[in-house]
Amino acid sequence: MTVIATESLSKRFPRVTALDRLSLDIGPGVTGLVGSNGAGKSTLIKILLGLSPATEGRAAVLGLDVATEGAAIRERVGYMPEHDCLPPDVSATEFVVHMARMSGLPPTAARERTADTLRHVGLYEERYRPIGGYSTGMKQRVKLAQALVHDPKLVLLDEPTNGLDPVGRDEMLGLIRRVHTDFGISVLVTSHLLGELERTCDHVVVIDGGALLRSSSTSDFTQITTTLAVEVTDSDTHPDGTDALRRALTGAGVKLVGHDGLDAAGLPGAGHILLVEATGEETYDVVRDSVAGLGLGLIRMEQRRHHIAEVFRTEEAPRAAVAATAGAGQQKGSGRDEH
């Protein structure tokens, strides 16, 4: 089943081309849409909601044509905008009830669904207080709740982690994951951070300059791009734990990234962080076993967050191959057309 399908979709404004012959085929699940600012993410969302006509090409959402069945699409789809969109003087409950009614839910159902949805996104007693006093994280939850309140088949989330601190970011990503796994709602989530989407999404689509750069399932992605940042403690037997682990890992045949696995400029605490190239699930096991074998404490083992720019810089060769097979890529290194 296809949730979103576009076929050489283009959107041109007098001075810029926002989308350039974009062909996508997105199935159910959580799909990440990654692109730098101005890559065409928001334009794509507008077209998918049937609010902005495409210059050429076709698009369908849940099997409905965006050009002719926009209203039917908007009844079945939820949308969470990137920017602030909440009035400060009403409570989350009142606001979400109103939005549920705007989606066509009868009054009683609107109230019930609002209570359910706010609880699912993690808002409890505070939902009766005016939104003006909420933290950024709580506001993002209200924004998510209004997109989910009418039980859509698909939600479009525009930069849902914007402005959140690392903890809030992780909570939001976990919530997004649950929207699919627990609620059975497909998700299209945009971000300019590839790393955070890798962990949340089943499928990642990278667009740049309005054209498809890459579209693949996250497992494919992980094979190629994942770098693990590993930090360990020192112990009496291994005064330099980091160095001991490096030797152990190299001995175990694990590839390290950068100069001896140390990326001086990359992360805080550089010099104590090993960057390990993860080739699959087994790499995690090797790291775990090596650390345990040396008797060191594992401070952290996390996937490094890639900025989209890193994909452009380091992924040239595999990307060109993927793009060519996807039949939609005309772009080379700079991500621009060359004809």
């Binding site: 905008p81 939005m99 066509g104």
Partner: protein, 302 residues
């Protein structure tokens, strides 16, 4: 995970039921229902209902003033022996209390439209089944209804009072009918102008000030120039000057067609021919307001 606690009958322990996510299989009432909901939410909101206690104060106070004045008039009519009709005409009421009506539209039009613009909630509406035309129509109709309640309620009180005082029914019913038509026209016109001004200024404070300015400055200017015209014996100009402010427009229309006594200097409002021009200007302003609002929301969509 959601949890729900329920006490099992007959013993003190509570049980936690994990009911998980429930999908919604009920009816979806669609666009027309959403439009009606937006209408009623805006209408209730203009009287502060469903909003904070603070925001109820001003609209309720203004509505109270309108009703109080009409109650006093009724009391006077009933208490004074030998009266055969109300102290004022139904059509005069809104003209006398125009400042109250002006304050009401100035305070409530911005709350109806500026909030959604300022806090950027508009995209949330347009990502739902309703469209621009539904949004504009719902807001326009709600504001008109709010004004109609504000201006019509005192007339109803006057009419009921007149009947209690046993004034001539046919006479009173005719005057009441004319008054209601007049305030209906006034409501549409003021709602249109108020919403346009408010929709162009996302900041609520500016919106309030701008609406008051549009209503009072035009009225002040028109009545001043009319007074000068009256003093200088150019009575012909008075008629046409009335076209340039909302309240004198209504005055002109009701003088020409609804048996009102004009508040223009000399009490000499437009005749039937000039009255048609007045009516056309009113209708053009209403249509123009609608067009401007539609244009405005095309630009602030998603």
């Amino acid at each position: 995970m959601s949890t729900e606690t329920g006490t099992v009958a007959g013993n003190d322990t509570s049980r936690i039921h994990n009911i998980g996510y429930r999908s919604y299989d009920g009816v979806r009432l669609g666009r027309a229902y959403a439009r009606r909901s937006l209408y009623s939410q805006t209408l209730r909101g203009s009287f502060g209902l469903g909003r904070s206690a603070k925001s109820k104060v001003l609209p309720m106070l203004l509505c109270g003033v309108m009703c109080l004045v009409s109650l006093i008039l009724v009391a006077v009519a009933i208490a004074t022996p030998g009266m055969t009709k109300l102290p004022i005409k139904y059509t005069d009421f809104a003209i006398y209390l125009q400042a109250v009506i002006g304050l009401f539209i100035a305070s409530q039009a911005p709350q109806a439209v500026s909030r959604d613009l300022r806090f950027k909630s508009v995209p949330l509406y347009f990502s739902r089944p309703i469209e621009r035309v539904d949004y504009v129509l719902a807001k326009f109709a709600a504001m008109t209804s709010a004004l109609l309640i504000l201006t019509g309620l005192p007339l109803v009180i006057l009419f009921v009072g007149a009947l209690l005082a046993k004034f001539d029914f046919a006479d009173q019913a005719k005057g009441f009918g004319q008054g209601m038509v007049s305030v209906a026209l006034l409501s549409v016109l003021f709602a249109g102008l108020g919403l346009v001004v408010a929709a162009l200024t996302p900041r609520r404070g500016f919106g309030v000030a701008a609406v008051i300015a549009v209503l009072t400055i035009t009225y002040g200017a028109v009545s001043t120039v009319q007074a000068i015209a009256w003093q200088t014996d150019s009575a012909g100009a008075i008629t046409w000057l009335g076209l340039f402010s909302p309240i004198t427009l209504i005055d002109g229309v009701q003088t020409a067609f609804l048996g009102a006594t004009s508040a223009f200097p000399g009490g000499d409002g437009p005749g039937a021919a000039a009255g048609v021009v007045y009516l056309l200007v009113v209708l053009a302003l209403v249509a123009g307001s609608y067009a401007v609002l539609m244009r405005r929301y095309r630009r602030v969509g998603l």
